[in-house]
Amino acid sequence: MAECPVCGGTVNLGDDTVEGELIPCAECGSELEVTAVNPLVLAEAPKEEEDWGQ
């Protein structure tokens, strides 16, 4: 479990969570990035950039 940096809600994470993973906060809907796994740290995910995606 970790705390959402946007709303302070609880975010449940699986054992297979990896650094850099994108996770949605179930409470506020924010898109979060796992910036560290031991201990778990979440940050607001970077905003979509012009050259993202396929």
């Binding site: 297979d16 990896v18 650094e19 850099g20 993973e21 994108l22 990035e33 796992v34 995910a45 970077p46 950039e49 012009e50 050259d51 993202w52 995606g53 396929q54």
Partner: protein, 282 residues
Amino acid sequence: MIMKVGFLHSLIRPEEKLLIKEFESRPGVELAMIDDRKLSFNLGKDHFAYDVVIERSINHSRALHALRLFECAGVKCVNTSKVATICGDKILTSIALEEHKVPQPEVRIAFTEDSTIQAIEEMGYPVVLKPAVGSWGRLLSKVNDRDAAETILEHKVTLGSYHHSIFYAQKYIDKKGRDIRSFVVGDECIAAIYRSAEHWITNTAQGGKATNCPLTNELKDISLRAARAVGGGVVAIDVFETDQGLQVNEVNYTMEFRNSIATTGVNIPNLIVDYVLKAAKE
């Protein structure tokens, strides 16, 4: 013998996580995560211990240049920088398709507002104006008449970077609510989905719904020809169904497939990992 696979990434999306799990399940494979946000190159002096690098960056510009830099350091990459260069630019993609005689919608390219208006009117409305570099259906404009064309072109020139002043206009295809995305891994077209939407933009990133699409011989043939035209590897082909047969819209080199595994019943990450490990040995 251990095979060392470099996994170039930024954010880890569901696709990357599935690929990581697949690599980690393979005996004799050591996966090294390479976050492009922490990466720097020492040109001419880099020595990387990777047998192969798989590119899964979310940013096209970083992916393109990192691939070329890894190749310069002697590292085999999937996909190659050549494929990334062509697929990342719709103009270069259309040129490659034309040179390989792969059917595609009519396309005009021009560099000023006046010449673009003239080109569009020669082609006939409606057309779709697209940024040469861009994905997920962003900034696509369906232009139905001259008023709209003038307005959109003026906005692009005034508000956009110089990239938005190289105009790529594609004849609008009435998709009747769907298009096809097919997946090619090496010499095989492995699966395909229909992407359906009421909106004329059918990208799943824009809400398009994915359903399984049968692999007909025509679809497999045009998909493989499009893949070869851009240099091969692991690519996803966007295909239109038209009265003149199938036509290729775009080719994607860091394909997203989260909506396509359950839909098609094909283990896409498994096949990608097979391909990458095989490529490392060649």
